[in-house]
Structure formats: C-alpha cells, structure tokens
C-alpha cells in the first residue's frame, strides 16, 4: 500500500535531484578522506549507498521521522561497535586509566562542554583531563558543537549526537508501547534544565566534571574509571542504573526517548543555545484539529497541548520529524524564521521544492549527520566483517 502523501514529501524529479546531490557531496566528503585505505573506502562506499537510499526515501515519501530514525539508530549502533572495540584494542579494556588522566588524553565529548566553560573562563584551565588540540580534545569538540549549533540547533539531538541514537534505537524495538504516557506529568520535562543549572554550578565549585564523574549514562558504552573504593562503586551504580532505566527500559516501554527528553543536561543547553538556529517546527492553526496525536507521540516530550495551541513546538524540539509523520492533517512543518507557513503538500515546482525550509533543513542535517557518522559506521562495518571472517571484532 503506498504511504500517504506527507507535508515533507517531494516529487520524484526533485527527490532524485536531491539524492544525487547528496550522494555526490557525501562521496566527496566520505570517500575522499579514505583514498589510501581501500578497506575503509569499501566500507565507506557501503555506508554511502545506505545514506543515499535513506535520502531518497525521506524526500520522496516525506516520512522524515521514520527514515531518519533508521539512519540515527544505525549511527548509534555503529558508534558503539566501533568505539568499544577501539578502546579494547588500544588499552585492553573500557577502563580509563590513571596514566591517561595524568597525561590529559581522555577523549572529550560534547556533553562536558557546559560544565567546563565557566571554570575555563574564570580560572583559565580545563577541568576535564583532555588536551586542547588533540584529535578528540577541546577545540575539535568546540568547533563541532559550534557547527552543529549553527546548522541544526537542537536538531543535533536527532541528527548528530552519537548517544541520542541509542535511546532512539531502544525506543523503536517494540512494536507497541507498553507504558502509556497519558498521565505523564509534563513538569518533568523541565528536569534537564534544572539539572543543567545544578551541574554547571557544582562543576564550578568542585572544579571537576561532575556530570561525567557521577551521572553520564553513556559511560556504560564508552569508558569509565575502574571502581576501586565504595564511593566509586556508588558512582558506577548510579550511571549504570541511569543507563538501564532511561536509555534502555523506559524507551522500550514508552517508545519515547526518555534520556534525551527528561535527563540530558546537554540537550537542555542545546535547546537554549540552539535558538540561534533559524529553523523551527510550527503548527498550522487552521489545519490542526487539536487531536493531540503529536503530543502523545513526540519522542522528547516537546509538544504539549499548550504548545499545540500556540502553534509551535517547545524549545526542546529536536526536529526529528516524528510529529509530521503522524499528524493526520499535515498541519506540522519545518519552517524558517520570517518565512510564512506553506498550506499545501505541493511545493510549487522544482525550485519551489528545492528551496522549501523543510528541504533545506533536512538536506543540511542529513549531510552533517552523514559525514559525522561515516567514520564510525564504516569502522563498525569492517569490524562486523572481521567478526564473520576471523571471529573477532578486533582489527589488531
């Protein structure tokens, strides 16, 4: 049965053009960097085909939420399958060693940025054991974040963050939700902002990246310090519980991204700072019948009845496209500040479609996410092949 025409769908001609353009740019950016490594080049080519298919499906069908989700979950799986074996190859385990901390060579991730900013400005040093200019050090991460903020705003959390895909992955595993969120207390969606406020202040007092030390659930799939005393066991217990509860179990049961929507302080930070990005998700009040289907389905709790009546998503919106997929009236759409809402699925000819706000946002977001994920997914493909051929995930 053909899928219904959606607000983000494009004509075949436009979809083919956009897909070809995307494939060309991705080929240049992904394959160009691997010219002297044939195996990585081959894995990159496989991933390029995958991204090309996803691009076509998104533009042609308009099911942004559905096909983006496949891309995003693949990215997260690829990240885990490449990062953990890489740690085991280089240091024999997932434990962060004392030498690495002393030599400032722990890889920095974006989640730490809000915490390290104030101490860096006030005291002039980083409270995280990383180098300023190394490959996974401070400045590369800062530039990545700046780029993500300008291009995606909080769309980072549905198109770029290698952690966000993990709870997206679990939220997609079961066909139906087991726990309904009908009686969900929407006050809880302010928790990440409160948590952000507290950890930023706490990190400033303690001069340590307290979120990493105590709470970050993604240490469970990256690296952590080996517990050697009871306090470290408590810290380990906390982050493992948060991972199991908010990244695995609740997304499975509720089919929502509970970690990203109700916990992640970086998500809150990005929601606020990301307002500099000009894209928004708006609701056409004339089409909307206030059925609240979108409120029930938004993975990050970014739509409330109040937001729907105001005609826009909350600032925590990750631009995932799910609400647009499920809205029976096609009333929700990507918009650009200052550009009036469209009132039809038909985009006004080839150029009209190419320069629509949704086209521009999706194209940029997919290109950004595609390039960022390519190394991780390609390496994971190599590891899977190695597992099939040599019986090991490890390449060395």
């Amino acid at each position: 049965m053909p899928e219904k025409t959606l607000i983000n769908s494009h004509s075949r001609k436009t979809s083919v053009f956009l897909t070809a353009l995307m494939a060309f740019l991705l080929a240049f950016l992904i394959l160009g960097g691997n010219r002297d490594n044939p195996r990585m080049m081959a894995a990159g080519a496989v991933y390029l085909v995958f991204l090309t298919v996803i691009t076509y499906l998104i533009f042609r069908t308009g099911m942004v939420g559905k096909y983006r989700s496949i891309f995003f979950a693949t990215y997260a799986v690829g990240f885990s399958l490449s990062f953990i074996p890489m740690l085991i190859e280089t240091r024999g385990s997932m434990f962060l060693s004392g030498e690495e901390i002393l030599s400032l060579s722990a890889p920095l991730c974006h989640l730490t940025l809000p915490m390290i900013a104030i101490p860096a400005v006030v005291y002039g040093f980083l409270i995280f054991p990383t180098k300023l200019f190394s490959e996974m050090g401070f400045f590369p991460m800062l530039y990545l974040w700046l780029g993500a903020t300008l291009f995606l705003g909080r769309g980072w959390c549905s198109w770029g963050c290698f952690y966000g895909g993990v709870d997206e992955f679990f939220s997609k595993l079961l066909p139906k939700k087991i726990v309904s969120s009908k009686n969900f207390n929407y006050t809880l969606r302010f928790f990440p902002y409160a948590f952000l406020l507290v950890i930023v202040l706490w990190a400033f007092i303690a001069l340590e990246p307290v979120y990493c030390t105590w709470f970050c659930p993604f240490k469970a799939i990256t690296e952590f310090i080996k517990p050697t005393n009871w306090l470290m066991w408590v810290q380990t217990g906390i982050f493992v519980s948060i991972f199991l509860g908010l990244v695995v179990v609740l997304p499975l049961l509720m089919k929502r991204r509970t970690q990203c929507g109700l916990f992640c302080p970086f998500g809150a930070f990005q929601a606020v700072i990301g307002q500099v990005n000009p894209y928004r998700v708006k609701i056409d009040g004339e089409k909307c019948t206030k059925c609240n289907t979108c409120v029930q389905q938004c993975p990050t709790f970014s739509l409330t009845e109040e937001a729907v009546s105001k005609g826009k998503s909350c600032i925590s919106c990750t631009r995932c496209g799910k609400c647009m997929d499920v809205c029976p009236r096609g009333a929700i759409q990507y918009s650009l500040i200052g550009v009036p809402l469209r009132n039809s699925e038909k985009g006004g000819g080839f150029f009209g479609e190419v320069f629509r706000p949704d086209t521009l946002f999706i194209f940029g977001a997919l290109l950004f996410g595609g390039v960022l994920s390519s190394g991780m997914v390609s390496t994971s493909l190599l590891r899977i092949t190695n597992l099939a051929v040599n019986g090991s995930f490890l390449l060395k």
Binding site: V122, T187, L188, F190, F191, Y193, A194, F195, L197, V198, L201, W202, F204, I205, L231
Partner: protein, 205 residues
C-alpha cells in the same frame, strides 16, 4: 582591632567567587521558584538568605574567636555534615511544596515552611557549612582570642563576599516565566538530593 578589618575585606573580595559558586545552588532555586510581582517581594528571598548567612557568620565568628578554634576537626566536620543534611531536607521540602503543592504531604507541611522562612533557614545552614573561604577566614580568627574581634572580622568578611551574591537579585525577575519557575523547583529537589548525599558522606568519613 581596626587593622584586622582590611584583611577581612581583602579576604572576602578575593575568595568571594567561591562563595558565589557555593551559595548559588541554594540561592538560585529560591529566587526562581515563586512568582513575585512587587520589587520588594522579588528581593525578599535574597534578603532572607543573606540575613541567615549573616547571623551564622557572626555567631561562628564570635565562637571561633572566643574558643581559639572551631573546637576540633571532628566537631566541625560533623557540624558541616549535619547542616548539609538539614539543608538537603529543607531544599527537598521546598522543591516539593512549590512544585507539587497538590501532594498531601505538601499540603500538610506548607504552613510550617512559611513560618520558618525557608530562605532564611537555608542562609543559616549555608553559613555554618564550612566552605573553603569560610575556613580561611576562620583560621585568621582563631588567633585573635576575642569573641568581639572574631564577630567583627566575620561581619566584614560577610559584607565583602555578599557583593558577589548581589547579581542573584536579578534572577528574581526571571521568575515570571512558568518554565523558569518549574526549573527552579526541580533544581531545589536536585540540590537537596546531592547535598543529602554529601552530608551523609561527610558524617560517615
């Protein structure tokens, strides 16, 4: 006596940024959580908190100057631990009563909380909780051997460090936004949970 006061002033000004960091997690929820329209209402939590802190400083200053020490390390640690536990409970109760007033527990406890003036109580508990700048100041006072000098030293120290807290008054202006109030209330709960753990840890060690 007069010669010790510039030293208290200098110490307060040079370590005040720590005071800002230490008091901010407690002060911010009080400034953000409740909608207040009049200016006097907006600054009220700040003034109450500051008054509580002032009272604690003067008392501890006098005590430290008089006894020539904070009566031994174990006692100070225990005092800090107990004050943190009480502060934690206060923050949790404040967060619950402002954020979830419909709960039966909150309906019961609200009148009492109003009577003890939560920001004032928090100021006292924060004041007796020995943060690094406070301990440096206390070390100076130990050698004075006079309750009066100790209290005077701490009053000046208090005034100098309070300068750093003044920007918090402006946070009160954000509380007209419902989202900001929700953030303030939830942060009160989070701070309470964290301080509870730190308090327990400090008592246990």
């Amino acid at each position: 006596m007069i010669e010790i006061l510039p030293r208290a002033l200098f110490l307060g000004l040079s370590t005040g940024i720590f005071c800002l960091g230490t008091c901010a997690p407690v002060m911010a929820p009080f400034m953000l959580s409740e909608e207040r329209s009049a200016y006097s209402e907006k600054v009220k939590p700040f003034l109450l908190f500051t008054a509580g802190r002032f009272l604690a400083y003067v008392l501890i200053g006098a005590l430290a100057g008089w006894t020539g020490g904070l009566a031994g390390n174990a006692l100070t640690r225990n005092l800090a631990g107990i004050s943190l536990l009480l502060l934690a409970m206060l923050m949790v109760i404040y967060g619950l009563t402002t954020g979830f007033p419909q709960l039966r527990f909150c309906r019961m406890i609200s009148p009492y909380l109003g009577r003890i003036r939560a920001p004032f109580a928090a100021g006292i508990l924060m004041g007796v909780n020995l943060c690094p700048p406070f301990l440096i100041a206390a070390a100076d006072v130990f050698v004075m051997g006079s309750a009066f000098n100790g209290a005077a030293f701490f009053m000046v120290f208090f005034a100098a460090t309070t300068v750093f807290l003044v920007p918090f008054i402006f946070l009160g202006y954000l509380s007209y936004l419902p989202a900001v109030r929700a953030v303030g209330r939830l942060s009160s709960l989070i701070v309470g949970a964290i301080y509870f753990f730190i308090g327990l840890n400090s008592l246990a060690s």
